[in-house]
């Protein structure tokens, strides 16, 4: 005989949810600490270093902020883009592939931009990336609309196709391949000419890249787009019930195509900003944002302000681990992925606990 059963909580209070989330994160940090202790590392020291992302006692602290922002910008934009398609219940898990297409397109412009003005080059890179990623997004959406193919499968496959395309480019020494360095025997990606490197506003030694401002502006735009515009409204309706959207006279196919174009184009933009900020391209340029972005979007429950906050936290986690890893040879940035996984899991449990409660039968009787 079952003594306990689950009851959905009547009221979804934000305060309780936040407290449960905090507990979840705390528990994951404790699990992380156990791993650290097992490796012979003082967890307090390590976490201290991680959460201050190597700022404390560092003469070049501004470098840390710059490094953090380079992780943060692509993650934020990609997560926003994925939220957009998830809101429509279009399971775009092709963030990685769409990012790589954008990165390649932007690099084609970059490598051929010697002598062009910086502003024009970067703008062209962004446009090239957005259009090429956007077209792939539309292609997947069109297959879905026309033939009802499974978008999860399609977008997933794009990830692998693009991963191997960029590896091919990166490992093929040939006359046509302007991606690679001329002066190296081994195939190696070249660096962009100065014209293609992201500029910024100098604040003391620190340089605030334009890409950061673009990302912030984009966050505000997506927030308004989803919440207040007609197109955002259409996305919500299609996501909630496509039969209803159809009954309301919306052309569901068009909305899906348009939204997937915007979503993929944004990921392309993230890629263009990333390669331009890095000044080069590589097959690890995505830094897994296509995957991490999915986590961010769901942890945030597709809410734009929450996506912003979560992106900040995940970026600190990732960059902090990189920064701390320089002090601890026993541990590297993979620890960030591990911790991230544990946190995601704990937060999901916390979310469940915030929405349901376990009731003992006897208690229920007395209630």
């Amino acid at each position: 005989m079952r003594k306990y059963h689950l009851v959905r909580r009547a009221d979804a209070r934000l305060k309780r949810t936040l407290i449960y989330y905090a507990i979840g994160i705390l528990v994951s940090l404790i699990i992380g600490a156990i791993i650290l202790v097992a490796l012979g590392i003082n967890p307090l020291d390590y976490y201290g270093r991680m959460f201050t992302i190597g700022l404390v006692g560092n003469r070049y602290g501004y470098k840390s902020i710059e490094g953090l922002l380079k992780i943060f910008v692509p993650l934020l934009i990609t997560s926003l883009a994925l939220s957009l398609s998830f809101k429509m219940r279009f399971w775009n898990i092709g963030g990685e592939g769409e990012f790589l297409i954008g990165a390649i397109a932007a690099s084609i412009v970059a490598f051929n931009s010697t002598g062009m003005p910086n502003f024009v080059t970067v703008l062209l890179m962004c446009l090239a990336a957005m259009i090429s990623s956007g077209i792939i997004g539309i292609a997947v959406a069109a297959l879905k609309v026309k033939f009802n193919t499974n978008e999860t499968l399609m977008t997933l496959m794009i990830n692998y196709i693009m991963l191997y395309v960029i590896r091919y480019i990166g490992e093929t020494k040939a006359d046509w391949n302007f991606f690679l360095r001329d002066d190296s025997e081994r195939p190696k990606f070249g660096t962009f000419p100065d014209s293609a490197v992201m500029a910024g506003i100098p604040i003391g030694q620190f340089k605030l890249l334009w890409s950061v401002l673009i990302a912030l502006a984009l966050t505000a735009i997506v927030f308004v787009y989803l919440k207040y515009t007609k197109q955002g409204y259409e996305i919500s309706v299609v996501g909630d019930s496509s039969a209803t959207a159809k009954y309301a006279g919306m052309s569901v196919g068009k909305i899906v195509l348009r939204t997937m174009f915007i979503s993929s184009a944004m990921i392309g933009l993230a890629a263009a900003l990333a390669v331009s900020s890095a000044g080069t391209i590589s097959d690890t340029i995505t830094n897994n944002v296509g995957w991490t972005g999915i986590i961010v979007a769901w942890l945030s429950k597709l809410s734009v302000p929450a996506v912003f906050v979560t992106s900040v936290l995940i970026s600190i986690l990732q960059y902090g681990c990189q920064a701390a890893a320089t002090q601890y040879p026993a541990i590297d940035s993979n620890y960030a992925d591990l911790l991230q996984g544990i946190i995601l899991f704990s937060v999901l449990v916390a979310d469940f606990a915030a929405n349901f409660k376990i009731v003992r039968k006897e208690d229920a009787k007395n209630a």
């Binding site: 005989m1 079952r2 009221d11 409204y233 909630d240 019930s241 039969a243 159809k246």
Partner: protein, 524 residues
């Protein structure tokens, strides 16, 4: 007297909502107990606790005088309780035999064993079921599926059978047949609980009636010693007017005319087969037919959501064939269809009342932004006028009760001021009070000169509410009858295809054509 089932002090809450409060109920052996109550009175919740789907928060259940605990449908089955759900639980691709066989445990390894077949056949014969065991469920009519469901629980050895609104999907003749089976089961010593909204059925079949209201147990009365009026009072708690108003209007010219309309369903089969009719202003035309006779396809075709194969659709002298749904809406034809789950079409359940209010006209405001300010005012107007019970205009529609959901939907449809209102199953699953509110809303529209096409289920309601009733069977028109000059039985016979008055000479009711528009004009 020993009871088959006794419930004592059963309470069940979903969050803050108490679906059942301290319910006491008893079912004698070999009796048919009708469980009566408005929507949301807790009937289905209570029965789900007997079938092991929910567990009571408190209270006890006694089966044959012994206290039991039902933690799963399996427990329930072992105790001899069988439930026939409103929505059938059958494997569509399996035959009748296979559907029954998969639930039989501990009896051989083979699906088509002769002994099992024999057993099922015997049971079917004993209760007088007419069923083809080798027929695939997907090819069965609704009544056959229901027969199969009942046979299934009997084969599993159920002594207590619970039927959740079994008559909702049946025609008059099929209901009679079902009742005959139930009486047979009763003779064999089975105890039956039947959930229904329909008082005439309660009077016809039950021995006693238990009444629930708002989750509370009201009373149990002996059917012979009561009447429909008393039961209604018990059920709703106060006297209600049983007569549905039917204002008689000066009918204007035909607003919408349908000629030779042929439409296919999703599977590509003909769903609407050369149907002719028209709707005039100030008139309500009912559409009667067994579920799945082409009602949905007809509605969707008129609303421009489904391609038509053949025929003409003329609205105020203009052909609407091939127009986009939006264009048709702008012409003044509004369509609302309440599907079985009540939310699937026409409403976005997770979105607020405000957001649902503007679903069909969000695009009319200027600029790129949605005009929620006006929408909120409109939502409040609908809430006030139709007495929608909701905490606020920003409450997600999902959180409202069935009746309020439907009020929101209808409120939106009439807000745009259509001149043709097509409404399918607007009172589906609603209690009497909510239903009357909906009828009043429709009548008000009719008084304004709107032409209404009312696709309905309950013939009593349609006879009372509609001016004329068009009967369809398998997508074919069986005739149009005047509500004042017909009977339920006549309509029932037409619904089953037994009678077709379309081809009878001298019957002007059968085919309706707008003489003002010639065939040539219509085609243009």
């Amino acid at each position: 007297m020993e009871y088959a089932i006794e419930l004592k002090g059963i309470t069940k809450s979903f969050g803050p909502v108490a679906a059942n409060k301290n319910i006491n109920l008893s079912l004698a052996k070999g009796e048919i107990l009708a469980l009566l109550g408005e929507n949301g009175s807790g009937k289905t919740t209570l029965m789900n606790m007997l079938s092991g789907i929910y567990m009571p928060d408190s209270g006890s259940i006694f089966i044959d005088g012994k206290k039991v605990e039902i933690n799963s449908p399996e427990d329930s089955g072992k105790l001899g309780i069988g439930m026939v759900h409103q929505h059938f639980k059958l494997v569509e691709r399996f035959t009748a035999l296979e559907n029954i066989r998969i639930g039989i445990r501990n009896e051989g390894r083979f699906l088509h064993g002769a002994d099992v077949r024999k057993k099922i056949e015997d049971t079917a014969a004993k209760f007088g079921f007419d069923i083809d065991l080798d027929k695939v469920v997907a090819n069965m009519a609704v009544s056959e599926k229901q027969t199969l469901e009942i046979l299934k629980v009997l084969c599993y050895g159920a002594k207590i059978i619970i039927l959740d609104e079994p008559t909702a999907v049946l025609t008059v003749q099929e209901i009679e047949r079902l009742f005959a089976v139930l009486r047979k089961m009763k003779e064999e010593g089975h105890s039956i609980i039947i959930i229904t909204h329909k008082l005439n059925e309660v009077m016809a079949i039950s021995d006693r009636v238990a009444v629930l209201r708002h989750g509370e147990y009201i009373d149990t009365v002996v059917t012979k010693e009561t009447n429909e009026k008393t039961l209604t009072e018990l059920m709703v708690g106060r006297k209600i007017e049983l007569n549905i108003e039917r204002p008689v209007m000066d009918k204007t010219h035909p607003l919408l005319e349908i000629r030779d309309l042929t439409v296919k369903n999703d599977e590509g089969a003909i769903a609407v087969d050369h149907i002719n009719f028209y709707i005039r202003g100030g008139e309500m035309l009912g559409v009667a037919g067994i579920a799945g006779s082409g009602q949905k396809e007809l509605c969707e075709a008129i609303a421009g959501l489904r391609k038509i194969e053949e025929g003409q659709m003329i609205h105020e002298g203009e052909s609407i064939v091939g127009m986009s749904p939006k264009k048709i809406l702008e012409h003044g034809i509004s369509m609302s269809f309440i599907p079985e789950d009540r939310l699937g079409m026409g409403l976005a359940p997770s979105m607020s009342i405000t957001d649902n209010m503007i679903l069909k006209n969000y695009n009319e405001s200027k600029g790129i932004f949605v005009d929620r300010k006006t929408a909120r005012i409109e939502a409040q107007k609908v809430i006030d006028r139709l007495e929608v019970v909701t905490p606020s205009t920003e409450t997600p529609v999902r959180r409202l009760s069935g009746g309020n959901v439907q009020k929101v939907l209808l409120g939106r449809e009439i807000k745009s001021g259509p001149n043709v209102l097509i409404t399918a199953y607007p009172v589906r699953g609603l209690d009497i009070n909510s239903s009357y509110t909906i009828y009043n809303i429709l009548n008000e529209q009719k008084k304004k000169g709107v032409g209404i096409l009312f696709v309905g289920e309950d013939l009593d309601v349609m006879l009372a509410l509609c001016d004329k009733i068009m009967v369809i069977c398998h997508g074919r028109l069986q005739g149009v009858v005047n509500s004042d000059h017909t009977t339920k039985e006549d309509i029932g016979l037409m619904m089953t295809g037994t009678v077709n008055i379309v081809n009878k000479e001298g019957k002007t009711d059968g085919i309706a054509k707008d003489s003002a528009i010639t065939d040539e004009e219509g085609k243009a």
